[in-house]
Each structure stands twice: as structure tokens, then as C-alpha cells.
Symmetry: D2
Subunit: 325 residues, 4 copies
């Protein structure tokens, strides 16, 4: 294995709060270990188009607290083709980049895994996604911030739900994974939570609503987008039909969940694993995602990290049942 | 005019942050002036059903910072009938209430005006609505909080818009009045604002988008709900058709705009005019809304306050044009 | 009067949230009117040392939501001397700057006034200070954000005060002007407020504390720094001596009051008067501060703006008395 | 062991955000398992004075999002005496309470441990303290909220530090444990962190300050209160003496760190272990603290939980060194 002299760093896929803290950590630890470091803009798109620039300490000054990603992000169809990846590799060589840190989610790591097998360039990944849907880390960068954003929003919605005695159906992100809905549902005191993993049907929801206190007319139902029961509007339609006595409203939280200043925990996570990615590359690691499990650094092969069978703690659903009614 | 001994206070219509601060101010100033004070739950509905209870200093302890309204709110069809209002009057008499403070918006004051003419009971109103769509006050209780909530949300959306170079269409509240969209559009650095008052057509929007910097691909278009150009989804559809090169997304902020801890200014406003309502009733005022104009107390007859021809400062739209591109 | 071709903009004195929004407004409206615009770093210090650079639209991209000032700020002893001001003037000429927008408080405008009289260079000022201690504008840029920051902090302190039945003395900024303490005291439900203007002595405070509800043991006393009664620690010492039964604590909010994302109102204010400053210079105005009075633009000569006899609305203190106990 | 019919719950020691979520969880899960539940006000003080009341589902409605503790908290000298504990036990018996859930920190559990040995009443503890200084749980209730509050505050301070090129010494809570300073220092991008555990002397601090970039004049030094190097004012005095060229300021964050709406993670933690405490009592557990280690419930004997030799991850200090300069 050749000595590493210059690391390239990029963000890819959906953006997540804390990505900037991760970029900062990669850049500054690379410099600390006397490496050069280059930023690649817009993920694999910029790798192919050569949108690459050298970074120094000042490039990442005053960004740890900022949402989004200063390197921008995109999805790349071209990188899915062997031709695209070949161009990308040539661009990296042309820029003297001999190792990569990829910050993103499962799409990012799927690309990184293939690229790392095809070309002799070590790649390590940092889990940057609000969905928390990767194996090999207790939490992904952005998840903690996103769940706080959701809870802030539902606290506001609870104010108006209480004032009007309304039932609110609140849809949160998490296409294949209900972890956002689950923790925020507990934290917001939701009456019921519908997530993909729990195969919740509407009958179970109806049962829960009917077991509720009669004197408590404001209710929150938390729904993960694309849950099995259909989306929030469809669920709302059915609830309105069955319970015309409820003043039922829908709220889709949407893209506010992706933005905002990262929480303390997201910044610390991003900082720790950003440093570890550089140190891991120097130690000869490749084709792995760096995460934290039980407060210890953990390196997980990309193919395992993206397996996507995140287990839902059954106990969480029981807690909602016990506490909400 | 008979001496006032007991004041009834209620909230009605859409809830707004700061309503609790207003209730607190009415209750405590009534007690300060040695009056009794009763809370009426759920607005005119509770007035008719007799959901009325005596309040003391502790009833309003620790509520100044809470969103929503502890008195709850509702819309009442029955109060629109003479029969409903007759029952309401009888309930007030049965509870010894001889003056009212109504906290709400134009629907609330329309009811109050009629009631105040039909029955010999003095009523003063406090403007409590996030829409800022009443004459007789520079700001309504809740408006300042709501625009900060919107700006917080759009700052978050801007993070992800910048990271992905997206165009976001953000729909905010303000059915008949674009004041939320206007101020938040300036504050969030929106590229364009569509409000009911400005008869904005989509061609003007297109012109603005095309005048924009070519190197600035993230854009925010702020839309007041039910603006003339159609709602956010329809506008989004048309923009996508015309500008397929933009990665266009829609965000409906929805009910989060109604909730949350009131801002400092909303609490101060609610406190000032809450005290002034009680003092006004004692001074013999009736059938007026209490507001603040140019930092001075102002009393405006209900029929004038709800006239709804809020003038939009043309200069505001010019400012958006100058600053956003 | 010579035609204006290039405007210089700078921030000076204590920083305030919204200064960046003001800089953005000045830069973009200058460009809108086909003027050049230069940024001067660190106020009068940078003017003297020639720390001056040309700005374009991108120079102020994505700063409207950021606290602090990208132009940095400082206090300058050298500018108080005729020699210093002569060098400053020569630097401006060398950079082709023929008009200035000064963003700051009374120190800034004192310097601007003298400079504007000595040299033939038009200067307009924008009120940027959290203290709200200038005549000629209802609010200064930063005041609204600062009072929200204070209220957020006191809400948190109230949580712990309530839990422990404590009396908290909270010191806020406002050296010569109690407007921060006054509005935040009302909004936070303080039991008493000590401000320079009201010549409050401790006996009045004791009276207020003793009139309070016996069942309400948590209390907040809001103090403006350098109020006449001495600072928070001294007041705390005396209260502890007189009321050993209270669990009395001190909290100095300090510099958090200067930072943070500006509120919606501060951004709108900064945007409006930033545009107006450029338009005012083009219309031949000079040696004036631009403000907003009763929602209308107002131009006030510097010597009047800094007169410092801000009137305190007596009614505000009465409101605290009525509502807090 | 007698069957448990009625659980008493109380909070004791310093308050922490999330205590209300824990109370809610204990009350609702007790009711779920058909137990009675009583609230004891002001910790051991209220246990001795008999300030005890029955709680139902509504007693804990709408509190999950509130800071502080609705049961109030206090420190009790009397409970340290055998006589005090005897009265407390008699009060519990008189109220039919046959098991306890104690929410607090090491002082609380020290008392609980002794009490649980002296009297035949099972006690389980929930870790409620912002300091995160207990063994047997990865995080204590309140820690996550507190570190976010600190980071929010330091982000604001950074705004003004950047604008003025100042060095700020920020003192945070954590009398015997530097975990607040450590994580927030990383998250806020502090230049140096002084914590009790690292036996940091000022020479090391000076070295770090001198290794810093010459072009970066704003600096944050994070100090845990009562760290070995002396308090923030003393450190500030020495830095000013040694580095007169720095514009050095002190900020003591103080009691704002204890309050505020709990974060999502704190609410989830409090909910999970609140349920587990009731289930643990029913399963015959006693004299243990309930925590979460590596996302699993963990029960730790009181005497072990309060041992106080929290290990500091050395890696954290290295991260600060790598990232800050």
C-alpha cells in the first residue's frame, strides 16, 4: 500500500446537520498529521467533473455550528456506471488524491464500496444521515439534531392541539426506518406511532385511540413517511371518516428536519469519527464505515453497514402504549 | 352604567402565542383593581354551555411563557344565532359576570360587536391572532412569535436548499393577509414573495427568477396560503414544468406557526393591552378593541378593527426585489 | 456635491445581531443602484489602517441569519484625534470611497458626526446596538434579538427557581438605559425591575418583595447593569442579609446577549434601513441616522440621535407592579 | 416481601431538565400496572413533613416538555439524621406508600441507600442530574439538554468573540466532573478545555494558546467550575497579565444550564427508565439505580452508582487539540 499524502473529502446523498463538523474534523486532522486535503464538491458529481479544491485550516473555520454542507451534495447517476467511476478515478489521480473520506448514507457507501473494489484507493465512510438507518454505529450524524427539530415542532403543534382539542397526524421523515418517528413519538407524548417496521395496521391505531382517556381530546399520531398504512393524508382521511367527532388535522414536517444548527451530540460524534477516519486511513483501513458503538470507535465494512435491517427495540412501542394514554 | 364587579375573559378563534400572557394580564389586573374574574372555556361555546370558573392569581401562575391558551378556544355556530347569544347572556348573568374581555381575531370581534349591541354588557377585545390582519393595532398578539417561527424554519430549509442547490416553495399562513409572508420573506432572504394583496401573477415570479444570479441556484419562494396564484403545490407544478432544470421542492409550514413560547414582544404587548382592557372597562369603554399604535395605547371600535383592508407597505416588495437577487 | 460612486460600509462599537443583515442591505442596494461598495474592517481602526476591500453580491450571501458582524468591529482611540481622522480620510480617498454608511451606536455616531463636519464626505448611520438607547428610531438593530435571548434565559432560570423556591437576581445589559431590563422583566414575569432611569432604591424593592404572595417563594429580580442600586452581586448581598429565609442566587447573563441569529424583526429593520441609507445618500442626505418611527422611515441628525435622554414609559413599571405579584 | 400497592415518587438535589418526563413515566406506568402512586414534594424534606399527595394520569399531563420539576426539589439536613429518617418512614407508612422512586443525583442516592437499608421499603433511583457524574448509566437525565444549552450559549458568545477578536473564558457547571466542559468544548470548537480530571495546569493552557494560528485572534477557553486551575475569574486575571494583547472576557453561564425544555434524548431516556423503575420494583428490585448502558437497561446498586470515579475518555482531549487550532 502506497503512503497517503492527500485525502479527498466529500458529502453525498441527503444532507444532514453535522456534516460540516465532520468535514472540519477530517480537514483539520489531515493537516494535523501533515497530510494535504482536498474538498470535492457535490459528491460523486464533482468527483467526475473535477470540482475539487485544496483546503486548509481556514477553509473550515466557523462552520462547526452550521447546518447543511459547505461541500454541497448531490446524487449522481453517472457514478453508477463503470465509465463514470473511471473518470472519477482519473480526476482524483489528476488532483493527487490518494485516499477518500465519504460522508453520507447507504447510497454513498454503496458507491464507495464498488469504487473501492474497482480502484486502488482507500475509502472510509462517515455516517451522515438524519435517518439513523445504518448498521455499525449507534447514531448517525444528524439524527440527534433531526429528532430535536421534530420534537420542537410537535411541542408547538401540541400547543394548538390542546387549545382546540384536535387530533394531529404528524408525518416525519424516515423512508425505510421508523427510528425518527419512534423516539420523537415517545418524547412528544404521542398517543400512537405508525412506523414501517412494526407493520402497524390502522385497526391497532383505532384500538389505541379508543382506549384513550375520554377527557383528553387532543391527540398526536406520529407517522413515518411511507409507513405501511399509507401516508399521512390517507390516514387522516380514514380517521376523519371513522371518527367524525375528532377535529383532525395533518402536518407534514418535511424538509425542516434536514436543516438547522447541529446539536452538541452530533457535533461531538462528527468530530470524533472525523478524526478517526483520517487516523484509520493512515493505519491502513479501507472500505469501512467509522461509527461509535457503546461510546467506542467501531469500523464496519460498507457491505455490512448498509444492510438495512435495523432492529426496532420492541420495548419502545410498549413505552408509548404505557405512557401516552 | 352599572358598576363592574366581575369580568369574564375568554379566547376564541385560532389560537396564537401570547394568548396566555393576555389572560394572565387580564386576571391579575382585574384582581389588582379589586374585581372578581372568571374564565370562560372554549370561547362562545363555553359561554353558552356555562363552562365558566372563577380565577385567582394562581390560576395564571407560570403561564406567561406557554403557547396556546389555557382557556382553550373554539368556533361557535350557535353563537351566530340570536337564541345562542341569549343563552350566553343568561349564563353570564347566572355567573355574575358584568363585563367581558374577548381575546381573538375578526370572527371573535364580529361576535362581540353584535353581542355588545344586543345586551347591556360592556365588551373589550384584545387582538390575538398570528395573521396581524386587524386595524387599530400595529401588531396583533402572536404575530411576532409566528414570524420568528417561520424564519427559524426557513433558515433550516435554506441549509438544505444551499446544500442541494434547490428551489423551495414555502407556504406560510395568512389567508387574507400576506403580512406573514412579507416580513418573513425579507428576513429569510427569499427570492420572491407571493401574497394576496399584491395580485402577483406567476409571470412576475418568472421574471424575478430569471433576473437572479446564475451562480446562485438555491432559491426560496415564499407563498401566503390561498394567494391569488394558487397554492404552493400548484405553483410548484408550474415552476417544475417551466424550469425542469431546478430541483424544486414544496414545504407547507402549517400548524407549527400557531404554537411555541411567545416572543418577548408578544408577551409585552399582551401584558400591556391586557392591563389596558381592564382599565378601559373600568373607565366605561365598551365595544372596542385595545391595541398599540406607535407605542401608545389605542382603542378602536370593533366594526373598524375588522374592516380588513390592511395596507401593504409597497416598499416592502421593493426591498425584496433589491436584496434578494 | 459630487456624485457618489463608491460607498464604504463599516460596523463599529459593540456588535449586535442584525448587523450582518444591515451590511447585506447596504451592499446589495448599492449594487442595485449601480454603485461600487467597499467593506471597511474593524470600524474606524480599519479605516485608518486601510483594511478596506471591494464587496459584491456574493460577499454578503448567506449572512442575513448570522449573528456578529463579518466586517468585525472595534473601538478606536486614534480616530478621536484629528491626526487619526486625517489618515482615515486619506485612506478613503485612496480607495475611491466618497460616501459612508456607519453601523453602530452612540460612540460610532459621535465619531461620524465630527468626521462628517471636518471632511467633505457624506455619512449616514444605522442604529446597531442591543441597548435601544438612540433617539430617532423606535428600535435599534439587535434589541429585539437581545430581549428574546434574555427572555429565553430567564425562562430557563425560572424553571430552576420554581423547582427550588429560589429568588434570582438576573443582571442584563444596558449600561445607561434600562430598556432591556424593562421589557424582559415584563415578559419574564419578574417580581421587580431595577433600572438606572427609575432611580430605584432598594427600599422600593424590599417593599415589592414583601407585598408578594406568601405562597410564591420563587422570585425574579431583573437588574440593568450599573443600575443606581449597585450591581447584582451587591444587591444579592443585601437581599441575603435582609431576607436570610430566601435562597438567593445571582445570574449575570453577560455576553450571550450580544450574539445569536437575529430575530425576524431585526432582519426586517436592518434590511429596510440599510436600503434607505443608500437611497438617502443618493438623495443628498448626510450626517443623519436612519431609523424607523411608527413604521415610517425617519432621518435624525447625529447630534440629536445620541442625546441619550431616552424616556422610559412609566406605564411599564406600573405593569410590572400589577402583573408580578 | 410484601406486595407493592402504592409507589411514592420524588425529586431531590439539583433540578435537571427531563425530571418531569421521569415523573410522568413513573406515574403512568404505576397506573398502567394498577398501582396507586403518590407525589412527594421537595424530596426528603416533603417526606419528613408529609407533603404528599395522590397522583393520577392528569397530574402529569402536558409536563413532558417542561423544565424543572413539578414535585419541586430541595436538600434536606434532617434526613441525614436517624430521627429524620424515622419520621420520613412513618409519613410514608401513614400515606400507605410501600415503595419509592427517587429521582436525583449522588446526594439523593446516598440518602436512599441508607434509608433502604434501615427500613423495609424498596427504593429504586433514576439518575437526574445535568452533571452526568454517576456510574451505571451512559447518560443522566438532563445532561443532553444542558450540553445543548451550553453550546447554544457559546455559539452566541463566539459571534461576539469573532466580531471583536476576543478571548473568552466560559465557565460551565460540573463541580466534580468535567463532562459538560469536555463535550461542549469539542462541540463549540473551543481552543482549550480545563477540567478537574485532567489536572490541567495553566502552563499547558499557555502552550495551547501559543501554538494557535496567529491569524485567529478569537478564542474560547472552556472551564469546568472549580477546576484545579482556579475559577474563571482567576484564570482570566492570569491570562490578562500574561497576554495583555488579548481582549480577554469572562462568561459564567450559571443557572441557565439547569433549565429549559428537555431534549428529545433526555425525554426518551427519562421515559424508558421511568417505566423500568416501576417494572423493577414489581420484579422485586431495590436499592439500585436504573440506567441505560449501550442502549440496554442496567440496574446498579446505589453504592456503586455514586462512586464518582467517572473516567474521562483521554481521546476527547486529543480531539480538542487536533481540531481547535
Amino acid at each position: 500500500m502506497a503512503e497517503i499524502k492527500k485525502i479527498g473529502v466529500f458529502t453525498s446523498g441527503g444532507d444532514a446537520p453535522g456534516m460540516n463538523a465532520a468535514i472540519r474534523a477530517v480537514v483539520r486532522s489531515a493537516l494535523y498529521y501533515n497530510l494535504q486535503v482536498a474538498g470535492i464538491r457535490r459528491g460523486y458529481e464533482g468527483m467526475i467533473s473535477g470540482d475539487i479544491f485544496n483546503m486548509d485550516r481556514k477553509s473550515v473555520a466557523n462552520i462547526i455550528q452550521r447546518g447543511g454542507t459547505i461541500l454541497k451534495t448531490a446524487r449522481s447517476d453517472q457514478f453508477r456506471t463503470p465509465e463514470g467511476r473511471k473518470i472519477a478515478y482519473e480526476q482524483l489521480k489528476a488532483n493527487g488524491i490518494d485516499a477518500l473520506v465519504a460522508i453520507g448514507g447507504d447510497g454513498t457507501f454503496t458507491g464507495a464500496r464498488i469504487f473501492g473494489h474497482e480502484y486502488d484507493i482507500p475509502v472510509l465512510g462517515l455516517p451522515g444521515t438524519i435517518d439513523n438507518d445504518l448498521l455499525g454505529t449507534d447514531f448517525t450524524i444528524g439524527y440527534d439534531t433531526a429528532i430535536n427539530t421534530v420534537v420542537d415542532a410537535v411541542d408547538k403543534i401540541r400547543d394548538t392541539a390542546e387549545s382546540h382539542d384536535r387530533l394531529f397526524i404528524v408525518e416525519v421523515m424516515g423512508r425505510d426506518c421508523g427510528l425518527i418517528a419512534l423516539r420523537t413519538g415517545i418524547a412528544a407524548g404521542a398517543e400512537a406511532i405508525l412506523i414501517p417496521e412494526s407493520k402497524t395496521d390502522l385497526n391497532a391505531l383505532y384500538e389505541r385511540l379508543e382506549k384513550g382517556r375520554k377527557d383528553k381530546s387532543s391527540k398526536i399520531v406520529m407517522v413515518a413517511e411511507s409507513g405501511e398504512a399509507g401516508d399521512a393524508f390517507e390516514i387522516g382521511r380514514q380517521i376523519k371518516e371513522r371518527y367524525p367527532q375528532y377535529d383532525t388535522r395533518i402536518s407534514i414536517l418535511g424538509h425542516i428536519q434536514r436543516g438547522g444548527r447541529p446539536s452538541c451530540m452530533d457535533r461531538v460524534l462528527a468530530s470524533r469519527i472525523g478524526v478517526a477516519a483520517v487516523e484509520g486511513l493512515l493505519a491502513g483501513r479501507r472500505n469501512e464505515m467509522v461509527g461509535i458503538i457503546s461510546n467506542e470507535l467501531a469500523y464496519t465494512p460498507f457491505e455490512h453497514a448498509i444492510k438495512h435491517n435495523i432492529e426496532i427495540n420492541d420495548n419502545f412501542l410498549k413505552i408509548v402504549e404505557i405512557l401516552s394514554l
